[in-house]
């Protein structure tokens, strides 16, 4: 199972925000994240890794929890960007760790506003290493 995941890691990106631009830039030929066997999917059941980024309100949180619960085990979570790691830039009252930190277990934090595509790839590679 582990080796299967290692050679074919499916990632689902939740939310919207500036980080998504940088995450999706990794699919281009410059960074080409697919050479590590990483794919981006849109069905939670197929995904191994959930990437949490960007801005959330109550509706967004519900969607995020639904995606997380629909993902099959083993599953990992990467949190990217300042809005998730620290406080939301556009809503200072919103703190992801305080609100959902106990329900969703985050494995890797990628700091930056937004983090560079290399930083995201580095987190995925660390995840693959940890999976071994």
């Amino acid at each position: 199972m582990r080796s299967l995941v290692k050679n074919n890691l499916n990632i689902i990106v939740a939310g919207f925000g500036c980080c998504k631009q940088e995450i999706l830039a990794t699919t281009g030929p410059t960074y080409d994240i697919s050479r590590f066997g990483v794919n981006f999917v849109s069905v939670p059941e197929e995904a191994d890794v959930l990437v949490i980024q960007g801005f959330y309100n109550e509706i967004g949180e519900e969607r995020l929890l639904e995606i997380y619960s629909r993902m099959k085990k083993p599953k990992w979570v990467i949190a990217t960007g300042k809005c998730i790691v620290d406080r939301c830039l556009l809503n200072e009252d919103y703190n992801f760790t305080e609100r959902l930190g106990k329900i969703i277990n985050v494995d890797f934090y990628v700091p930056g506003c937004p983090p560079r595509p290399e930083a995201f790839i580095y987190a995925v590679l660390r995840l693959l290493e940890a999976g071994q």
Binding site: F16, G28, N57, G60, L90, E92
Partner: protein
């Protein structure tokens, strides 16, 4: 020093025209208007709620104004008063104005009272401007009456709204877009914050071209202080604006290519976007959120290496984008997929208040880079790219043409960059401004991006972002009916809806 700072506002042929409009407003609506202010190249009129209908009728029917577009309606609280901010513009007369409607409510009024009065104002506005219904609480297509519900997707740009569709076989009969998931910013956002804090995070309102919100804020302060900005600074700003426009349009093309299945074009476009982003990073130090524009200047000057890099990059960019266009649009299969999909006529686009490339694709010549005295675009030689049929193919073509025009502007900016010593003009800690309102607008890659601000001393009291993507969402609702279900994703992507602009 004072003379250098305040030696006049930018010379503008538009200033005279705006003053004429201001006089006409005072003449025709003197009984209704509480106050008229000329804020830079925009007008702000304060009126009572009871006069709203008369004022709208006059503005719409009088050929001196001929205001036919309602861009947005927002509610805000200013100095213990509830107000409505209505953004109106006239394409035939090439000007825009804001109506500030003072609501007869106490400062501590309950939300239900405010909503009731807001809805009644919208119903008054609806008599003159059909687009007003989009800004009201709509319940026309709920979950139970729609056949298909498409929740916010993973694709960038389609991730900030839920789509409710009512269909017959594969034809869409009704469409409703709910942007509730995107409204994340709090009401009190930026209240009592200092300007540097706002400047550092305002670029998040436009994910794909973060420079424009910063530019908008700085331009409004420069207009307020009548600060004469050095020509070199203006040229650097134009260079960066156009670079961001190129990058944003390339990202748009990449999304279209992905949806229609042109994998090769998708990869090539992302490669070129990366080239543009690297040049932006070399100049500003950041790719997405630059934080580069300052009041009266920019963060860093351009040195010889950066100018050389810009020259080399745009040469390659032009060649490569030409190839990409040929690869994408000379392919008859791909052209057929884009042609006659999501067609919009000029009147519908104007009615929805759409601006930017989406409007120009329908044949309307409206670009505030040309129509107003924005930066130093009057020194540049470029044309406004126009479409004819307003379908997906035209929207893609217009963006390709805009990329070429932007490269042309960058080329001119780099070659004619004035040799000038840039010195620090203003110290932000010295700012002590009495209560004042400010408006400024820029032509961002998605349309006219406008910011309304209230400031007192050095603290910002209110910021209202009047973004073009909200109108694109309304346009999407209008054109999705009578389209085929398989084209939904393509039509929505072709309107270039930016999720960042929907958050307020």
């Amino acid at each position: 020093m004072a003379k250098e700072l305040y030696d006049g506002i930018y010379s503008s042929h538009k200033t005279v025209f705006i003053e004429k409009i201001e006089k006409n407003l005072g003449f025709y609506l003197k009984d209704h208007i509480l106050e008229i202010k000329k804020l830079g190249q925009e007008l702000l009129c304060a009126i009572r709620l009871s006069d709203l209908d008369d004022v709208c009728q006059e503005l719409n029917k009088n050929p001196e104004f001929d205001i036919n577009i309602l861009n947005s309606v927002s509610h805000y609280k200013s100095r213990n008063k509830h107000c409505l901010l209505i953004d109106l513009s006239s394409v035939s007369n090439n000007f825009s104005m804001l109506l500030k409607v003072v609501m007869p409510l106490p400062g501590d009024a309950e939300t239900s009272q405010i909503m009731q009065l807001f809805e009644s104002s919208i119903s008054v506005l609806k008599k003159t401007f059909e687009a007003a219904e989009f800004f009201s609480e709509r319940k026309n297509l709920q979950e139970d009456s729609s056949d298909i519900i498409i929740q916010a997707q993973q694709i960038d740009g389609l991730d900030c709204f839920d789509l409710y569709l009512s269909t017959e076989e594969d034809m869409i009969k009704k469409a409703f877009i709910d942007t509730g998931i995107a409204r994340v910013s709090s009401k009190e956002l930026h209240k009592n914050t200092v300007l540097p804090d706002v400047l550092s995070c305002i670029s998040r309102y436009d994910h794909s071209a973060g420079l424009f919100p910063e530019l908008c804020i700085c331009l409004s302060f420069e207009e307020l202080m009548q600060l004469k900005v050095p020509r070199r600074v203006q040229y650097i700003r134009m260079l960066l604006s156009e670079l961001y426009r190129v990058s944003s349009h390339l990202y748009f093309v990449s999304r279209i290519a992905k949806i229609i299945g042109a994998e090769l074009v998708y990869n090539l476009v992302l490669l070129e976007r990366e080239r543009a982003l690297r040049l932006i990073e070399l100049i500003t130090g950041s790719r997405i959120s630059p934080n580069f524009i300052r009041i009266g200047g920019v963060k860093n000057d351009l040195n010889a290496d950066k100018i050389k890099a810009a020259r080399e990059t745009i040469e390659i960019l032009y060649r490569k984008v030409r190839n990409i266009e040929a690869l994408l649009l000379d392919n008859s299969v791909i052209s057929a997929k884009l042609k006659n999909r999501g067609s919009v006529d000029r009147e519908t686009a104007l009615l929805c208040g759409v601006t930017g490339p989406n409007l120009r694709a329908c044949g309307a010549r409206y670009d505030i880079r040309k129509n107003r005295n924005l930066l130093l675009y009057k020194d540049m030689s470029f044309i406004i790219a126009l479409g004819k049929y307003g379908d997906c193919l035209d929207r893609v073509l217009v963006r390709f043409r805009e990329i070429y025009q932007s490269i042309k502007i960058i080329d001119q900016a780099v070659n004619d960059l004035p040799e000038e010593h840039i010195k620090k003009l203003i110290n932000l800690s010295d700012l002590a401004i009495p209560f004042t309102e400010m408006i400024s607008s820029v032509e961002c890659p998605h349309g006219v991006f406008k910011i309304f601000m209230e400031i007192q001393d050095e603290l910002i009291q209110n910021i209202i972002v009047l973004s073009p993507s909200k109108n694109s969402v309304y346009l999407a609702e209008r054109i999705l009916p009578d389209s085929r279900f398989e084209d939904v994703e393509l039509i929505l992507a072709s309107l270039d809806i930016n999720s960042g602009e929907l958050i307020s």
